[in-house]
């Protein structure tokens, strides 16, 4: 069976997740991480709100960072949120009642950030390992590419110069397209060109440029 095993079967699940994610708009790693974070928070609210260890961690990290607190508020179950934050606020109330402001500071990192970072590393390692893979290369070429931060992390990780140059040239082409769309958008706002229709790509170019520079949150 080992002899008959195809190369495709040897590829890990993150590889296929990435391949699928390249079909979406924006950075594929950001998209996967957003999904991972949402899954983590949903699971935490559903399964672990009463777990003593989780409670202790959340008390010390004062819940979640601003980004993940915002995700929690958008998608989370309000009852789970209420249980978690009741515990945190009770602790803050207890410390303030003792006139102790020292313990109002963060003592641990947001647990979602820690979890997210592990997945981020995995996805970037898989991308680096498969940069010469034809299927992935094609998917990358056809996609909107990575955001600046993930591109930088990946480029720093890749040792092979040809793979690095290929990666950079794919993204330079993507930048060319976005810049042209931005210029066209500006030109068509001029009095003489107002009659020209702004294409959907030109209309979306501002958001695309922002997404490229800072990625999607989560």
């Amino acid at each position: 069976m080992t002899v008959a095993r195809s190369h495709r079967q040897e590829k890990s699940s993150p590889y296929f997740e990435l391949l699928e994610s390249f079909k979406l708009k924006g950075c594929p790693v950001c998209a996967l991480l957003a999904k991972t974070v949402q899954g983590y928070l949903a699971n935490l609210l559903y399964e672990n709100v009463n777990d003593a260890g989780v409670r202790l961690h959340l008390r010390q990290s004062l819940g979640f960072c601003r980004d993940h607190a915002s995700t929690l508020m958008k998608n989370g179950d309000p009852l789970g949120i209420a249980i978690i934050y009741l515990d945190i606020l009770q602790n803050v109330h207890h410390e303030l009642s003792k006139e102790n402001s020292e313990s109002l500071s963060l003592r641990l990192e947001c647990p979602t950030c820690t979890y997210r970072r592990q997945f981020e590393r995995t996805y970037l390692e898989v991308l680096a390992d498969y940069l010469h893979d034809k299927e992935l290369e094609r998917a990358l070429d056809d996609s909107e590419g990575l955001c600046l931060d993930h591109l930088r992390q990946l480029v720093d990780h890749v040792q092979d110069d040809s793979a690095k140059n290929n990666l950079l040239s794919i993204h330079e082409r993507g930048l060319d397209t976005t810049r042209k769309n931005l210029s066209e958008f500006v030109r068509k706002q001029g009095v003489r060109f107002r009659n020209e229709i702004v294409s959907p790509a030109e209309e979306a170019a501002c958001q695309r440029a922002i997404d490229f520079l800072v990625g999607k949150s989560n």
């Binding site: 606020l89 993204h171 060319d176 958008f185 922002i210």
Partner: protein
């Protein structure tokens, strides 16, 4: 600024103060900044206290939104700001959200398009020159936010000794936890005790709402009507902990 969200006098003053501050921000090392002019007067601060959110967060948010709406229209007229933005390869993720919102207005969207076309060009040049990818760092709005934030915290702390202000503060929803930490660092004695005691009371109200929210989710009490404050209590608790 969207209609109904017009800038008030202090906001306009603060924004122009921020614009004037930009060249100095790039020259002065951190921690060596000189005393700033005071923009928010006592009456303005009392108005801000009536808002249902942390007054320091409110001042910061309104100032940065206002600043950005001016900067996106007149960015070319503030070359120092534009240069700082080019050096940092754009805004950080948090402040890019302000740009996203501002760009919903078509006039500002044009400003965003001009600025970002230029920024992407800089990224391309960097990639070609160094065969590497630049980092977005030292966001110019972070520097301004730091200034406005320390200013807002300072004026609230300054007035905490005043008994009339204390009455207004007591009636407000108070500051968020990050700003509470900052204010407590600036206070001692009676004023510090007042702020702590006031927040103990405010927390008791928040805890009461959260407890009722949880209790009314129990199948035995689901028929009991949830008040508006109870329904909003999970969201308000998160906002208190991270700021709004």
């Amino acid at each position: 600024m969207p209609a109904g969200n017009r800038l008030s006098g202090w906001e306009e003053q603060l924004i122009h103060g921020l614009i004037a501050l930009i060249p100095r921000l790039s020259e002065e090392p951190k921690g060596e900044r000189k005393e700033r002019q005071k923009f928010v007067g006592y009456d303005d601060l009392l108005k801000v206290l009536r808002e249902p959110e942390c007054p320091a967060c409110f001042i910061v948010r309104r100032s940065l939104q206002g600043f950005l709406s001016v900067a996106l229209l007149e960015e070319l007229a503030v070359p120092e700001f534009r240069e700082r933005l080019r050096m940092s390869f754009g805004y950080c993720r948090q402040h890019s959200e302000y740009v996203r919102v501002a760009s919903r207005n078509w006039l500002r969207k044009m400003g965003v398009a001009i600025v970002y076309e230029d920024l992407l060009g800089r990224v391309q040049d960097y990639m070609k020159k160094y065969h590497a990818v630049p980092v977005v760092s030292d966001c110019p709005l972070c520097g301004l936010q730091e200034e406005v934030e320390s200013y807002a915290v300072q004026i609230i702390a300054d007035y905490c000794n005043d008994s009339e202000f204390q009455d207004h503060y007591e009636a407000s929803s108070g500051v968020c936890l990050p700003h509470l930490r900052d204010i407590l660092k600036l206070l001692n004695g009676e004023a510090r005790r007042f702020v702590m005691k006031s927040h103990v009371g405010k927390l008791e109200i928040r805890l009461g709402h959260l407890q009722e929210f949880i209790r009314k989710h129990d199948y035995r009490f689901t028929h009991e009507k949830m008040t508006e404050q109870e329904a909003a209590s999970p969201r308000n608790a998160v906002r208190f902990v991270v700021g709004s």
